[in-house]
């Protein structure tokens, strides 16, 4: 198990180094200068030059790359060009929204998908199965931002149960914060739950048809016992893969939902920073997201080994 983990860790580090190079190169070549963006139409060239100096933009690319990477390693992400405050602080604030939102949405996803998937698989071909399949088909097809707008129309404008968006901050209590994240989390979870339920169903159907299930039934286990003890655990591998991918997606891919509900999360930060050419923020957030994705994959790899001992042995 340890060797397996070390091997995974090695590929994690290599991926990170490559990612940092690619991100830095890609973002530095986007046209558009942060200083002239900030000073606008009437700026005198010497004022733009003075600002470029202040921001350290007149240093060489290589020097900037190394100071960025060495900063990242020591936890110093630099100072935002526009906000003029530490990038780590800005990202920290946003994470307190994006991370709970992702966890909330993923929890809803699992809570919906597991029962639905198991239910459909164990009643294959029945009317409930057909119903679950059609609803999930719809869930995959409906764009989440459209669904979000529908929910806002119903729950915020007509019924007035929820605010149309925004975030009160955790300092104003746990429940108001959770309430503010509820509609966005549902909007994010719906398509993900639909995907996961379908994966769960097909994976479970797959394992239910395996010989060892028949053997276990022959040994006298009831259908239910065979399902819980043998089929489910074996069906989990593809499901875990999807959950890992979904978590990364929810963390990084909530940009549109964050815009619809004007939540100050990471997605909106990236969006805003790109248009303002706050390159250092963009680089650091993207790097952080890459790190999160790689870390999630790493964890999923370890989880495989946990559910499937064969993988441990192979490594």
């Amino acid at each position: 198990m340890l060797r397996y983990a070390l091997k995974r860790l090695q590929s994690l580090v290599i991926s990170l180094v490559i990612a940092s190079l690619v991100i830095f190169a890609a973002i530095e070549v986007i046209p558009g200068d942060p200083a002239s963006f900030m000073l606008g139409f009437n700026a005198k060239p010497e004022a733009v030059e003075a600002l470029r100096d202040q921001l350290g933009l007149n240093q060489s690319l290589i020097k900037r790359y190394f100071s960025w990477v060495s900063g990242l390693l020591t936890g110093n992400f630099g100072t935002s060009y526009t906000y003029r405050s530490p990038v780590s602080e800005i990202i920290g604030d946003r994470l307190w929204i994006s991370l709970p939102l992702a966890v909330y949405a993923l929890t809803l996803t699992v809570l919906i998908a597991f029962p639905a998937g198991i239910f459909a698989a164990t009643r294959r071909g029945s009317r409930t199965d057909v119903a679950v399949m059609s609803v999930t088909q719809l869930g995959v097809a409906i764009p989440n931002f459209w669904f979000a707008i529908l929910m806002v129309l119903l729950f915020s404008i007509n019924l007035r149960w929820f605010s149309a968006g925004g975030f009160p901050g955790w300092e104003n209590g746990f429940w108001p914060a959770i309430k503010a994240l509820t509609l966005p989390a549902i909007a994010l979870a719906l398509p993900q739950a639909s995907i996961l339920a379908r994966v769960m169903r097909s994976s479970l159907l797959d394992t239910l048809g395996q010989d060892y299930i028949r053997t276990s039934r022959a040994k006298g286990l009831t259908r239910r016992q065979a399902l819980w003890r043998h089929a489910l655990r074996n069906a989990l591998i593809p499901v875990l893969t999807i959950i890992g991918l979904q978590f990364s997606f929810l963390l990084a891919g909530a940009i549109i939902i964050e815009n619809v509900f004007y939540l100050p999360g990471l997605g909106r930060l990236v969006f805003q920073s790109i248009s303002q050419r706050d390159l250092i923020v963009v680089e650091s957030v993207v790097m952080l997201l890459v790190f999160a994705v790689i870390l999630v994959n790493f964890t999923v790899d370890l989880a495989y080994a946990w559910v499937d001992p064969r993988l441990r042995a192979r490594a």
Partner: protein, 493 residues
């Protein structure tokens, strides 16, 4: 079971809290589409900085009134020497900054010297170019010597870029602005909102509101929902004109439609072929149907203009007939220029909806007369790089929001590259002219010159359309500068 009960209790508590807030409203929440990049009005061009801070937190020696007139600010009076070169300002007594320090002449010297210093990052550094020296004469008297007389000096000092800051708090101004205004800076949850709190030690009439929150909502749909759900009390410059009709029909809201300093123009690259030919530029100006653009892109909000000047200004001349919609004439002019088969050019559009929507309509109108445009949609940073700095464009659409900016036509290096020595002389003379009558005549002549030369296609004056809770009073209808002065805003009982 327990969780459901907790949830229910929480929901009830929340509703009570919300109702209590409705009972006695002393604060206001205002939606803005863009968030300020930082909070120093003297080192960035972003309009959002002024919208939050101008005259709320920071004040200048002079200030803009709601009608665009310039009146006393921190200076209660001033004397101008006979040659027009020396301005002596008397500061108000007993003005303190929000950190408790007293405003004195030294702060004014510091602020103006900082704005015009060699390493200054002031976005409007040109406003201070004519200043020769700034001296403190005692605690409350400031003497400013100009290099040459300047007609619009008091006007320039009213800009957000000329507000008075204190040396003690300058270090941290971008995140903790300390000014002299009726509101102090409270808190900034980045990406989300900025809160201002009433300054009870204000030198003038205290603000009626106890606090003000600016909330940043970039998505038009979200802005609509937030307003409809009454999460916010007003949305300044509402981003989706197509929704204004539904607000107008709703008794809970008032739609304010005022004027801005934003001349929206079809910019033409005057040095690029074939636009270097006056006939071609005139053809373009006759090919454009302004009313179709205002109706189609702005849902009827906007005033047609025929030159680069704000229609609400007393010296404005209506020159729209000079470039009336006449496609036949446009075709004839193109033929005269030897381009009867038309030509192809680029149309580079920045993000605002006036540009993106207006661009589609203009492209169709130009096609009618044989001009094919290749549209590219750019972000602001790209637009600044390619169009504004690189001058790599044929046509573009942009709203020039700086007040009284006809002077940009006297800068041959400016992105549309209009180079007319007579016009440049006109603006030069104007800058030293302080006789109101002569100024007025000169301004009118300047407007006519650029209209005759069809430098750009003049489309419309951008309207400021804000949606406001019907009970909220005192929000500025017009925008003489990009400010949202809250000092006189209050709730009706």
């Amino acid at each position: 079971m327990k969780i459901t009960r907790n949830l229910a209790v929480a929901a009830i508590a929340l509703m009570t809290a919300m109702n209590a807030a409705h009972a006695a409203k002393t604060g206001v929440t205002i939606g803005l589409q863009l968030e300020p990049p930082h909070l120093d009005p003297t080192s960035a061009a972003a309009g959002a900085i002024d919208q939050v801070l101008y005259s709320n937190v920071f004040e200048g020696l002079t200030r803009f009134g709601p009608d665009g007139s310039v009146g006393p600010g921190l200076a209660e009076s001033w004397k101008i020497s006979a040659d027009g070169c020396i301005y002596t300002f008397t500061l108000r007594e007993g003005v303190t900054f929000h950190d408790g320090s007293t405003l004195d002449a030294g702060d004014v010297v510091f602020s103006l010297d900082r704005a015009r210093a060699e390493d200054s990052t002031n976005a409007q550094k040109a406003l201070f170019e004519n200043i020769d020296k700034v001296e403190a004469k005692g605690d409350t008297t400031v003497k400013i010597t100009l290099k040459k007389p300047q007609g619009d000096f008091l006007f320039n000092l009213a800009w957000g870029d000329a507000v008075i800051v204190a040396p003690e708090s300058i270090e941290d101004i971008k995140n903790n602005p300390v000014g002299t205004g009726a509101f102090t800076f409270g808190n900034w949850a980045k990406g989300d909102k900025i809160t201002l709190v009433r300054n009870d030690d204000y030198w003038g009439d205290a603000a009626k509101l106890e606090s003000a929150t600016f909330k940043f909502i970039s998505e038009p749909t979200a802005a609509f929902a937030a307003m409809m759900a009454e999460d916010i009390d007003a949305f300044y410059s509402f981003p989706a004109p197509e929704n204004l009709a539904s607000f107008e029909a709703d008794p809970r809201f008032t739609v304010l439609s005022g004027s801005t300093e934003g001349e929206t123009i079809l910019s033409i690259n005057n040095k690029q072929e074939p636009f270097d030919n006056l006939l071609v530029r005139r053809a373009v100006s006759h090919a454009i149907d302004r009313s179709a653009i205002i109706d189609g892109a702005m849902f009827g909000y906007g005033t047609p203009i025929g030159t680069h000047f704000a229609p609400h200004h007393p010296d404005y001349v209506d020159l729209t007939n000079f470039s009336n919609y006449d496609p036949e004439k446009a075709k004839a002019l193109l033929k005269e220029a030897g381009l009867e088969d038309g030509f192809k050019t680029t149309l580079k559009l920045p993000p605002p909806s006036y540009a993106r929507r207006g661009g589609e309509i203009i492209a169709a109108q130009l096609r009618e007369v044989g001009i094919e445009t290749e549209i590219s949609n750019l972000e602001w940073a790209q637009w600044l790089e390619q169009v504004f700095r690189g001058k790599d464009f044929g046509l573009s659409i942009v709203s020039h929001t700086e007040p009284m900016d006809i002077g940009i036509y006297a800068r041959p290096e400016y992105y549309f590259q209009y180079d007319n020595a007579d016009f440049q002389q006109m603006i030069k003379d104007l800058s030293t002219e302080s006789d109101p009558k002569k100024r007025s005549t000169a301004l009118k002549k300047a407007q006519m010159t650029i209209a005759r030369d069809a430098v750009n296609g003049y489309l419309f004056q951008l309207a400021l359309t804000s949606v406001v809770n019907a009970k909220l009073k005192g929000i500025w209808e017009n925008a003489p500068t990009q400010a949202l002065d809250l000092t006189a805003v209050s709730w009706e009982d």
